[in-house]
């Protein structure tokens, strides 16, 4: 039976294929439309430039009434990303609205990379360096970017 969640995911998929946001790709697994893999490319002219960051998005039958579970598979160093890849982002938590489709979610995560929210630290070291020692922070981000190429292979 086609549920609301599956119908919506097909709609999201068509949308992502027909009108892909810059620097973002994503698709469901061949075997399971409820589980997606995505890649966010680090935005140009930032410390994140050149990085290829893999994520998984796991949807429940309650999507889009409930947010998917989104996490980075690539190791990250960012004030709002936990060591296990989980992301602290308001629209994925208490500000979730079904208005956000997969394109919008990934676009928000992409903007979070360069625009962290110091008010909700998920990685205290990254948070501290971001506010106190931006040069060192950027160096650590570059390391993550290079690491992301190794993860690729």
């Amino acid at each position: 039976m086609s549920t609301s969640a599956r119908r919506r995911l097909l709609r999201d998929f068509r949308r992502l294929q027909n009108d892909p946001p810059s620097g973002i790709t994503g698709a469901p697994l061949d075997t399971n439309i409820m589980l997606w893999q995505a890649v966010i490319f680090g935005p140009d002219e930032t410390a994140w430039e050149g990085g290829t960051f893999k994520l998984t998005l796991e949807f429940s039958e309650d999507y889009p009434n409930k947010a998917p579970s989104v996490r980075f598979m690539t190791k990250m160093f960012h004030p709002n990303i936990y060591n296990d890849g989980q992301i602290c982002l308001d629209i994925l938590q208490n500000q979730w609205s079904p208005i956000y489709d997969i394109s919008a979610i990934l676009t928000s995560v992409q903007s979070l990379l360069c625009d962290p929210n110091p008010a909700s630290p998920a990685n205290s070291e990254a948070s501290r360096l971001y506010s106190e020692n931006r040069r060192e922070y950027n160096r650590r981000v570059r390391e993550i970017v290079e690491q992301s190429w190794v993860d690729e292979s």
Partner: protein, 271 residues
């Protein structure tokens, strides 16, 4: 994920404040809001005996029991609605769809179908993405068109459809929110004075109306009854006064009645 509270107090009353606004905290917590894991909308229970037997109202320190007894002169049954931040919208939709399924309300059902069919145009004018919104609109139209005034057994099927966790009522419940936002944004003269600290109606709606976990406010209730052209009567069970219960009436048209316990709405039905 943070745990979300569904027990926010209502915001300041809109244009027609009651003689006693229900914004003060009650003399005791009246009840636990219904569990967020219960059914979306319960079966019909007798009122007020169901509440009296499931809630620990203390007669010595509050007027809740006296107020319930006053209300029992008018109302005889209640449906408990899930307390997940959408209780008002869910009560509204459930109440609306079931009333529209009554044969005598066929012309209203057709009018509201037409309103929902045209809603995408208004939403697009207000900056919403029609591709996303169509998914929600289709589910609401499915509810409105599948609930053709029906045989007696129909009401049972309707309850099943309206409470199906993966059925059309879930997306339809949320669709009430952008319909509400869209009405607010297209009536700035009415709503701008109530923006509180928000710089624009857009940002107000984005933060206070559209997120699934945000409770309704008197602003959103005013907007939704006008958008749909129906009436919502709210009885405020606030425990303030043993001799009266404040009733707010929003909008005009077919009537949906709700019981408000601080932080939560349920559906109530007249005798």
């Amino acid at each position: 994920m943070s745990e979300l509270s569904s027990s926010e107090p209502p915001s300041e009353p809109l244009s027609e404040p009651p003689s006693e606004p229900p914004s003060e905290p009650p003399s005791e917590p009246p009840s636990e809001p219904p569990s967020p894991t219960g059914p979306f909308v319960s079966d019909l229970f007798p009122f007020p005996s169901h509440l009296l037997s499931t809630q620990n109202y203390s007669t010595s320190t509050s007027h809740f029991v006296a107020q319930l007894n006053l209300l029992s002169e008018t109302y005889s049954s209640i449906r408990i609605v899930k307390g997940d931040g959408s209780c008002f919208y869910r009560s509204f939709l459930y109440g609306l769809i079931t009333i529209l399924a009554e044969p005598e309300n066929e012309s209203e059902r057709l009018r509201i179908i037409e309103y929902v069919q045209k809603s995408i145009i208004t939403l697009e004018e207000q900056g919403y993405d029609p591709l996303i919104m169509e998914g929600f609109q289709e589910e609401l139209l499915e509810l409105l068109t599948s609930t053709i005034p029906s045989s007696r057994s129909g009401s049972l099927n309707l309850h099943t459809t309206l409470t199906d966790p993966h059925g059309p009522s879930q997306m339809s419940t949320w669709y009430c929110r952008p319909l509400c936002s869209s009405y607010i944004k297209s009536h700035p003269e009415t709503f701008t004075p109530f923006l509180l600290s928000y710089p624009s109606l857009d940002s107000y709606c984005k933060s206070e109306i559209e997120p699934s976990s945000i409770e309704s406010s008197e602003i959103s209730i005013q907007a939704i009854v006008k958008a749909f052209g129906v009436k919502v009567g709210v009885e405020y069970l606030d425990g303030h006064d043993e001799e009266k219960v404040v009733r707010h009436v929003f909008g005009e048209g077919l009537e949906i009645n709700m019981l408000y316990r601080p932080g939560h709405y349920d559906l109530i039905y007249k005798k």
